[in-house]
């Protein structure tokens, strides 16, 4: 089976003031990667104007593009409209569901969505008490359940989970401990560990760390742009070939 090169970045926070700047870094992406995954917070305020900039920045690339939205993309209550703008430009947008791409004859399955917070095992919120707290925790539980179903039903050779919020606390190192419950939830990792995946990508934690692991041993990468410091990370999935230095 061919190896796959997964390019990924999140938290590009585009707007009119950054129009064209990111696009210039995408030239030649087909030589470095087979697919580009966008891990949410594509805009800053979640406006339709910013959504248009995002759609124009990532359209007509020589590799398929799959995106999820982030909390910033929800701020103006237009996530469905922004997703539709991206889809009109040929960009797949996941909302707790999946897409399967044929890449070099390999079926690459991508499952995911925005994700949500709540905290990490032993230090997290529970569905208890006031309705506001219950709603907060229940939102994450429902998302995790939908990911579990999407992964169970996925028919693919390689499986990648794409999220905005983090499924583990490894990749939050550098963020203040006090805000971890707003940065992710272990329920997301638990769902993915139960069904299996080759890689989980997320953003959201600008001051975090790139590399982590789920309790089940799945590699996690925080691809928030401020963490990467480069236009995108590239992660190679597959059997090791004859040349250990190249995918």
């Amino acid at each position: 089976m061919s190896q796959l090169r997964i390019a990924a970045v999140g938290d590009v926070h585009l707007g009119e003031d950054l129009r064209g700047r990111y696009r210039s870094r995408l030239s030649g992406i087909e030589e470095k990667a087979d697919v580009l995954l966008l891990a949410g917070d594509l805009t800053r305020h979640g406006t339709l104007e910013e959504g248009k900039v995002v759609a124009e920045e990532f359209r007509d690339l020589p590799v398929p593009v799959v995106a999820v939205l982030g909390n910033h993309d929800h701020h103006s209550d237009k996530p469905a409209e922004i997703a539709a703008m991206l889809k009109d430009e040929g960009i797949s947008v996941l909302h707790d569901d999946s897409v399967v791409l044929d890449v070099k004859g390999v079926r690459l399955g991508v499952v995911g969505g925005k994700g949500f917070g709540g905290g990490f095992a032993g230090k997290c919120a529970s569905e208890f008490g006031e309705p506001e707290i219950k709603a907060f925790v229940n939102h994450t539980k429902r998302i995790a359940d939908r990911w579990r179903v999407a992964l169970k039903e996925l028919q693919a050779d390689r499986r990648v989970v794409l999220s905005h919020y983090s499924p583990v606390n490894d990749t939050l190192a550098g963020e203040p401990l006090e805000i971890y419950p707003f940065l992710g939830s272990y329920l997301l990792a638990e769902a993915v560990d139960s069904e299996g995946a080759d890689l989980i990508l997320h953003g959201h934690a600008h001051m975090g760390t790139e590399k982590g692991l789920t309790p089940g041993g799945i590699r996690v990468r925080n691809v928030a742009l401020p963490v990467l410091g480069r236009a995108y990370g590239v992660y190679c999935l597959g059997e090791h070939g004859e040349d250990p230095d190249h995918c």
Partner: protein
Amino acid sequence: MEAPQYVAARVQSALAEDDRTHELGVRVDVRGDQLFLRGQVGCEERRELIADVAGEAAPGLVVHNEISVVDVREPGGEERL
């Protein structure tokens, strides 16, 4: 005199909620009459707007804008998993 922790919290909330900024990742520290801002943003215009909003939320403090602009470097080599 207002405790500096409350001033810093007010500035942080303003940076998150003001339509000009919506920045969640800015660190705000108050020491005496000095206000320090640290973090990263995408361009110089956003960096300046953060200082404007912070200054309005904490009038009378001297704003030290130590926020840097993210330099989007070329992508590097891939990581084999």
